[in-house]
């Protein structure tokens, strides 16, 4: 009946190309011997050295695990690294950093996988969804950093055309900014889609002879500014501070009509500069109610733009790891750190 044995797979596997068997056996003996020899000579064994850094005393209350979202920009990483450093070394917490985009990080409040976001740029829609509607997150106050968003030119341009920093003169220079992408108009370079942008409306409402071109990422934006300065190629684009790149190249802000409260309430009719931003921290409701000393630390954490820029510079330019950078700053600023710690 079952005479299909010709096709049996086991046989197929057995039919292998000949290899010198004795050579193989010899090799086995050799390596095994060498291995035994080595193990006789020793070398440090795994688990022999006791891990010395068991949670050093500091906080009376147990801290447990803190899940810190790390959004993908260096300034944020500076905040997160310093908070993590203090929480681990001085409060004995276990900090888990999770690298996430903002949207995903906010979702983490709902799923219970993120305890804190430590640099938030406005995001009123997400605040409404997760703080007001779902009630899974609460604000933990400002970080002390002031966010500025605006239109910038490379420094060489401000030197060569001093009046370019006034928006009223932008049309005069529009032809300088022509590129292959701008349809014969001047090019205004927009950045990452995560940014707040009113630029298309601004161009229209200020009657500027420009076209908004979407660079699509911060990488693209920074590379363009860098090349602009190096090649003396004109550029007008969207940028913001605090940002580590500004310590490499001090971009010059163009003055748009000044911001007044409510001038940006109708998105289609905006004709004024961006508002100043107070960056803040958001924590999950669960974390806020836990009484963990880490929550107190996050809530008390504030520092200045200069502080953040310094740590960001350690990371971005001096190529330190975030942990090294944070450790250096914490060691240099014991007084500021002390003010964040829970009383007692």
């Amino acid at each position: 009946m079952n005479d299909t044995g010709r096709f049996r797979p086991e046989e197929l596997q057995e039919d292998q190309v000949a290899v010198t068997r004795s050579g193989k056996v010899r090799a086995v003996v050799l390596v095994t011997g060498a291995g035994l020899l080595l193990s006789a000579c020793g070398g440090a064994k795994v688990g022999q050295v006791e891990s010395a850094t068991s949670s050093s005393a500091g906080g009376a209350k147990s801290c447990g695990t803190v899940n810190l979202a790390v959004n993908p920009w260096v300034g944020y990483e500076a905040n997160a690294a310093v908070i993590a450093q203090v929480a681990e070394k001085q409060l004995g917490c276990k900090v888990v950093k999770k690298d996430l985009k903002e949207e995903v990080a906010w979702q983490g409040f709902a799923t219970g996988e993120v305890d804190a976001i430590v640099e938030n740029w406005a995001h009123d829609d997400l605040k409404k969804k997760y703080i007001d509607d779902q009630k899974v997150a609460v604000s933990a106050g400002p970080t002390g950093n002031k966010g500025v968003i605006g239109w910038y030119v490379a420094p060489w341009m401000a030197k060569k055309y001093p009046d370019i920093t006034d928006w009223k003169n932008l049309n005069k220079y529009a032809s300088l900014f022509k590129t292959s992408e701008s349809d014969g108009k001047g090019q205004f370079l927009d950045g990452d889609p995560s940014f707040v942008t009113n630029d298309a409306a601004l161009v229209k409402n200020l009657k500027l002879d420009y076209k908004v071109v979407y660079a699509g990422s911060e990488t693209a934006l920074i590379t363009s500014f860098r090349q602009s300065e190096k090649q003396q190629k004109p550029i007008l684009g969207y940028f913001y501070e605090p940002q580590w790149f500004l310590s490499e190249l001090r971009l010059v802000k163009v003055n748009l009509p000044a911001y007044t409260k409510g001038c940006d309430s109708d998105a289609a009719k905006v004709a004024c500069d961006y508002p100043p931003y107070e960056l803040d921290k958001i924590v999950s409701k669960k974390f806020a109610d836990s009484g963990s000393p880490a929550y107190t630390l996050v809530k008390n954490f504030t520092w200045t733009n200069d502080d953040q820029n310094l740590v960001a510079k350690y990371i971005a330019e001096d190529k330190m790891t975030a942990d090294e950078a944070a450790a250096k700053w914490v060691a240099d600023n014991p007084d500021k750190v002390k003010a964040w710690l829970p009383a007692g």
Binding site: A27, T111, K129, T179, G216, K230, W244
Partner: protein, 691 residues
């Protein structure tokens, strides 16, 4: 990539013609056109005439019915998609589907990944190091390569694994490997049975093909954020994202293998009384084994290509290193990690390819050695691996890769210097090239596509497809184009289409020139192949900074990125085709006194035509898969919409719509190239004699 709250949002109301009416009209048009086309033989002239009508129509009707939609504008459909996604979010904690189904899958996958990580990458079981240290992992991998491949790939494997340590990225590499392997194993566990089913059942095959198309062309960015709602932040989400992309090749190629088994062989089995189950187990599966291993190979490559993107939702490993480096535009560090990914891909590719060849050789060669010989070999090799594993379990020197042997900083500095030099010294030329190609080729084409009324573009497209393809393909195109209109993203789709087609033309130019060169010379092949592998597997994020420096944030930069990624495939396929031309034919032509140029243009290329068309359709799909990366470097349009949807809450719906538009473009372009190929083949059978 900083995030800042709200976006300018104005409800864009887009004028949409009643779809039904125009659909019926176009159906009639296409029927008439088909009849006309059937009668008239001079298709070439008709195509030219149609295009002339288009240009004329553009000149007369420019700017009308172009369906433009601004960057932050939404259509009601986009708003509706947003609301739908919010509804899913909200029901997450109460819906039994989540509570009893998704959550268990998540737990299972999480545990599986954590287990592999515990074995090779993360401190585990109260030890400061993983179970297997570098010596053990490298030894085991080499042993596997030796047992299933050959000595050459075993050597390559050993060198590859050591290089992870030498680059200073041992742990990151092992994290990537752990995630990739888990995703691959799970993908195969799902994909091979489904592939067998698709191989046996025509109906299931027809059903599953569009789903697979969808899974492969839908940009990952679209489903990445929603996935974390289902599977939470962690290894499970990253694994599932990887699986969505990696399962289709497993299913497709397995089905192909099952289908390829010759009917005669099957009949022989059946006549001997084998039941269908026996026929499958004893005939089909063994005969399809080699093809299935090719499927495994493609699954691994697909899984590895997700390493960087999965890092956006906290997948551990090399992808993290690349993304972190990108934040500070640190090309060197990104390159270093990218290099490790390339090495891993090359090693895994060569080992699985060798394994597949070995199966074939074994099948052909028949019995050369006794089972005992094989057993001794297996025992010996595994014995050595076990000893190495034990050492790496016990001793720190074998567990942690020696830090002194770290060449990473040198690689980083060299890459940095190279990137800097390229940006500084070549920028004048690249700028001129960019302006030339953009103004001469891209801009006019894009103006024609975006400036004409949408119905004119659609009508021209359908007529041209009728002429060069088939009625069926024209129908697919009609439906697809209407879907683009309904999605509210007509103009963005046309911008993306223009760049996609220009990129494909460049890919094919490169593919023909380099592919022919490679196909004619083995030395060139050996020299170029690693470069092509690198182009295919190096994460695009690594070379974004230098090409941005050279070309600025423009559509052309996006085209270059797409060419870097897609050209290797086209080149390899063309080379394969050239090499497939029989030696006797080439000899005959040479002895008849054909010059090298005549040989290429009159003999080799025409005879490799099916390979060239395959290269075109693959090149197209690869180009299309880079649309989203293009959105990150200034391409705007659909790619930007998808990226924006990933970053902005209000734009999620639009991002989803843009993802769907990319899928539609992919499916339409694929069907059209296929139909055109079939027609060309049929035509060629009358004239030129095919092999």
């Amino acid at each position: 990539m900083t995030g800042r709250g709200e976006v300018v949002q104005s409800r864009g109301t887009v004028a949409m013609k009643p779809a039904k009416e125009s659909q019926a009209k176009e159906g009639r048009v296409s029927a008439v056109a088909a009849r006309v086309a059937a009668r008239l033989p001079a298709r070439g002239y008709l195509v030219v005439a149609t295009l002339a009508v288009w240009v004329l129509g553009w000149a007369l009707l420019r700017g009308r019915d172009t369906l433009a939609l601004g960057g932050a504008e939404l259509t009601p459909l986009h708003g509706g998609l947003n609301t739908g996604m919010d509804a899913i979010d909200d029901s997450r904690n109460s819906n039994p589907f989540f509570l009893y189904f998704i959550n268990y899958i998540r737990l299972f996958i999480d545990e599986a990944v954590r287990f592999v990580q515990a074995l090779i990458s993360q401190p585990s079981f109260d030890r400061p190091v993983p179970v297997l240290g570098w010596l053990g992992v490298a030894g085991l991998a080499t042993a596997i390569a030796l047992l299933y491949g050959n000595r050459k790939v075993a050597l390559l494997t050993a060198a590859g694994f050591l290089s992870f340590g030498v680059l200073g990225l041992w742990q990151e590499s092992m994290d990537t490997l752990a995630l990739t392997l888990t995703a691959v194993v799970l993908s195969l566990a799902v994909g091979i049975p489904l592939g067998v089913w698709a191989g046996l059942s025509d109906r299931f095959h027809r059903l599953v093909t569009p789903v697979l198309d969808f899974m492969q062309t839908m940009p990952t960015f679209v489903y990445l954020a929603p996935l974390t709602l289902f599977f939470l932040i962690g290894p499970a989400s990253a694994t599932v994202a990887t699986m969505i992309y990696a399962i289709p090749p497993a299913i497709r190629i397995t089905a192909l293998g099952i289908r390829q088994v010759s009917p005669e062989t099957l009949e022989a089995g059946t006549s001997m009384g084998a039941t269908p189950a026996q026929a499958l187990r004893l005939v089909r599966l063994p005969m399809a084994k080699q093809t299935i291993i090719v499927g495994v190979n493609q699954t691994i490559m697909a899984a590895l290509s997700m390493a960087t993107i999965a890092a956006l939702i906290d997948a551990p490993g090399l992808g993290q290193t690349v993304l972190k480096a990108l934040q500070t535009l640190d090309v060197g560090t990104a390159f270093n990690a990218g290099l490790a990914i390339v090495i891993m891909a090359v090693v895994l590719d060569r080992v699985t390819s060798a394994a597949s060849r070995r199966v074939e050789v074994a099948r052909r060669a028949g019995r050369l050695r006794t089972a005992r010989g094989r057993r001794v070999e297996v025992a010996g090799v595994l014995g050595v691996a076990a000893v190495l594993g034990y050492l790496s379990y016990t001793y720190i020197w074998a567990a942690e890769f020696p830090a002194d042997a770290n060449l990473g900083p040198y690689v980083r500095r060299a890459a940095d210097a190279a990137s800097q030099w390229v940006q500084d010294s070549l920028v004048t030329y690249t700028d001129a090239l960019k302006n030339l190609l953009t103004n001469a080729l891209l801009n006019p084409f894009e103006k024609l596509l975006t400036g004409s009324p949408w119905w004119l573009v659609a009508a021209v497209a359908v007529v041209v497809i009728l002429l060069v393809g088939s009625v069926r393909a024209a129908l697919v195109a009609t439906v697809g184009l209407l879907v683009l209109v309904l999605l509210g993203l007509w103009q963005d789709s046309m911008v993306t289409l223009a760049s996609t087609l220009v990129a494909t033309v460049l890919v094919m130019l490169l593919g023909m020139v380099v592919g022919v060169w490679m196909g004619r010379s083995d030395r060139v092949d050996t020299l170029l192949r690693p470069v092509l592998d690198a182009g295919q597997t190096m994460p695009a994020f690594v070379y974004l900074v230098p090409i941005l420096g050279l070309f600025g944030p423009t559509r052309f930069t996006a085209i270059i990125a797409a060419v870097v990624f897609a050209a290797p495939v086209a080149i390899k396929l063309v080379a394969e085709g050239i090499r497939g031309v029989s030696a006797t034919t080439v000899e005959a032509a040479t002895s008849a006194g054909a010059s090298a140029w005549q040989l290429i243009s009159k003999v080799q290329l025409p005879m490799a035509r099916s390979a060239v068309t395959l290269a075109t359709s693959q090149g197209l799909i690869y180009v299309l898969s880079m649309v989203v990366v293009g959105g990150l470097v200034g391409a705007g349009a659909l790619g930007y919409d998808v990226v924006a949807g990933f970053s902005q809450h209000q734009l999620r719906g639009k991002g989803l719509a843009a993802g769907l538009a990319i899928v539609v473009l992919g499916i339409v372009l694929d069907r059209v190239t296929r139909a055109a190929t079939e027609r060309a083949d049929a035509a060629a059978h009358g004239g030129l004699h095919q092999r």
